[in-house]
Subunit: 450 residues, 2 copies
């Protein structure tokens, strides 16, 4: 089963927005074991949408067209589909009535243009809208199929899951094509994409050799237990480090899970042997959730003192639900005298390891936290105190009056240096906390902290 995605909207061609819908649908199709060999984007123009849909139908078994179902004169996907199907549009009175009621419920009359959203190509079935006014469409074209969904991302995603995915599954079963795809992302911080790729090159070659021809191939490899294939991919995600994505495709869920687990163990062994503790999380885990878990397990609280990051670190920590259980607060000390007056940093240079440690100690003291994190450095564009942009000092004040420091040299412009500084400081904290013993579970009778 091959499905092509067609995104409709002149704003996509003009680059006014990036086409995140196609990326989302690409992920969702891959996860469902459906191949997608081409994506297209096309503007709000009748003839060109018709041409894009015909082109897509010629080279795929199904097409998902996304966008152009709204009420305005620019929204012409319905008309284009009707032309491709060679059928007229019919106004569906039930849908029109429901749209009218939605307006009525808000004390408004339905503008006549919204009636267009009730136009359905003859022979198409609708996917009921639950989040907007526009219904989705499922349109047979010979033995192929054309699905239409709104361009509003959360409406599109909900209709895909509820309306399109079950229909695709049914078609896969009919074609004898059931397979399960599962994937897992290992998130790393501290090394380059090329170093990761080099370290794992051996595994990639073994997997490539054992896999059937090319991307999207559906062949299974007899040599692997249970049948199925595994692929490794490296994704540079900018300021959040490098991701290693493991994807297993197998005839059933158990086989896919087994392949994935075995591959993850092999990849982790290679990475630990070569780079140490660089995997900070899997899938959606972030550096701050890793830090949160370590602090909670050790019953420690944290306070921060930030200069060049200016609150980025505190803000990332507060994004974790329940942060008040382990995060006390922070001080943004952007000027030397605030560092001295509020945090008690000694007079003298404030861009140094000693200043970072003094900031960490000051934060722990002022905020009554067990652990203090201090960071100072130069975000640029100009040097400060003779220190070049990208030079950053991190200090940790730990229980038992222990301290740890790091000096970083970071690339990029001001925003990137600030972002890299924040995640690097959190990673230092993560590694240092990992070395401290975790405490046993708190007794259930102990009072919780809000």
């Amino acid at each position: 089963m091959r499905v092509e995605i067609v995104a409709v909207g002149t704003e996509l061609l003009l680059g006014q927005i990036a086409d995140t819908n196609s990326a989302w649908l690409g992920q969702a199709l891959a996860a469902a074991g459906v191949d997608s060999h081409f994506h297209q984007a096309v503007g709000d123009n009748h003839d060109r949408i018709v041409l894009a849909l015909r082109t897509a139908l010629a080279r795929a078994d199904g097409v998902i067209v996304c966008g152009g179902l709204g009420p305005t004169q620019d929204d012409i996907t319905r008309e284009a589909i009707a032309e491709v199907m060679n059928v007229p549009l019919r106004r569906d009175e039930t849908i029109e009535e429901r749209i009218s009621q939605l307006f009525g419920a808000r004390g408004r009359h339905m503008p006549p243009s919204n009636g267009r959203q009730a136009d359905v190509p003859l022979g198409a079935t609708i996917i009921e809208p639950t989040r907007g006014t526009a219904p989705g469409l499922m349109c047979p074209v010979g033995h192929k199929v054309l699905y239409a969904v709104p361009g509003v991302p959360h409406e599109m995603a909900e209709m895909f899951e509820r309306g399109i995915l079950p229909d695709l599954r049914r078609r896969q079963v009919e074609a004898g094509e059931e397979s399960v795809i599962v994937s897992r992302v290992l998130r790393t911080w501290g090394t380059s994409e090329s170093a990761l790729a080099e370290a794992l090159q051996g595994r990639v070659e073994v997997l490539d050799a054992s896999r059937a021809d090319g991307a999207g191939g559906r062949g299974t490899h007899e040599g692997q237990p249970g049948g199925g294939t595994v692929t490794l991919a490296f994704l540079a995600s900018g300021i959040e480090g490098i991701k290693v994505r493991l994807t297993a495709r197998a005839p059933d869920a158990a086989a896919a899970a087994g392949l994935l687990a075995a591959e993850e163990a092999m990849v982790r062994e290679v990475l630990v042997g070569r780079f140490g503790d660089i995997v900070f999380g899997i899938d959606d885990e972030t550096m701050e959730t890793a830090v949160a878990g370590l602090l909670l397990a050790r019953r420690l609280t944290l306070g921060t003192a930030e200069s060049l990051t200016g609150g980025l670190i505190a803000s990332r920590l507060v994004d974790v639900v329940g942060a008040s259980r382990w995060f006390r607060g922070g001080v943004v000390a952007y000027t030397p005298d605030v560092k001295q007056d509020v945090l008690g940093v000694p007079a003298g240079p404030v861009v140094s390891e000693a200043a970072a440690v003094a900031m960490a100690r000051g934060a722990a003291r002022l905020l009554r936290a067990d652990v203090g994190l201090g960071i100072t450095g130069v975000a640029g564009p100009e040097s400060e105190e003779g220190v070049a942009p990208g030079t950053v000092y991190v200090g940790l004040a730990l229980p038992g009056d222990e301290v740890e420091t790091a000096t970083l040299t970071l690339p990029g412009d001001r925003p990137r240096i600030r972002q890299y500084s924040a995640i690097s400081a959190l990673d230092l904290l993560r590694r240092r906390l990992s070395a401290l013993p975790a405490l046993p579970e708190r007794a259930p009778s102990a009072p919780g902290v809000a």
Copy 2:
């Protein structure tokens, strides 16, 4: 002149990365007055790249293919282009030698696979690489043209500007198609996209009526002075508000600038009359640069006290170059006792307007700032002190012991409530500062503040 963009990479189809290159190229082509009616994405598969290129050449005058020029076996754009051109690949020894020297300069031998980057389809000319090892390609196909650039964004962008754009300009001149496109974005905060669209509907209709048929049309309207067309578009940019984009296309730069200035004046008049002071900046100006400009002009300094935003506001302010001239620092007071101990908030509820004002005063006092900004509220997912998620209180402590407060009710999940809170608080500060008189320029002999 119509140019289609073809992005190559299986990772695009799988949605592992969003296709930002096509968006960038779409913007750059529009700015150059080149129409782009379709974009395609295709995986790393020879036959499918060939099909995508042939499809694109059939419906455009030129094609930019992006990606697949690297050294690995996955990088097969060169071979696909040679097949479309129906010519062999020839190894260019000058390029090969230069790549080899690049490796030598880093003390390494060139891996044999990198030699592939010196393969050039017969009849193609190269665009010299200045930032990587892969050259770009300019390939004639009959009277049409196929450009190939690497997928690394900054290499792609640099080659487009240096190699492709001049060639496109030459082709536009030959086709008698010179025109200039200029655009400006008015950035607003405080109203919805539909309210903006409704307020400006009259202007949109006038402009639509006076413009030649559809997106990408090149017709000029005789009724407009100097010839040329103007379009209005509304772009919801999520947490940064709604943008109104004005785009003028005219035969020369002066005419385009004149059209744009006239349209901006009309749009601003409509917006001020309907919504008041909602335009906070143009083009790349952010809410924090607006605040910075107002504080500098009034010689005021700012200190912040943040609860639910947890440093987001301070971090946005520090992102402005030279922030130390007007930003003193901030306190992230995420727990009630930090609000009380560090900021002097009275005991009692800490999610209230009174607490926000006390935080603002505490920040101004502790950080010795002229203006204090305090923010407290509930980011969710749970209620706090009986206050529902999305309820946010902002307090400003201004010179002369004046205060200003606002209560916000914000939609969305935890991250969005925090982001909306940050920009809403900055917008309140912006509007309040606008009402204070600006001071005359500081005398040149006065000592500067670092």
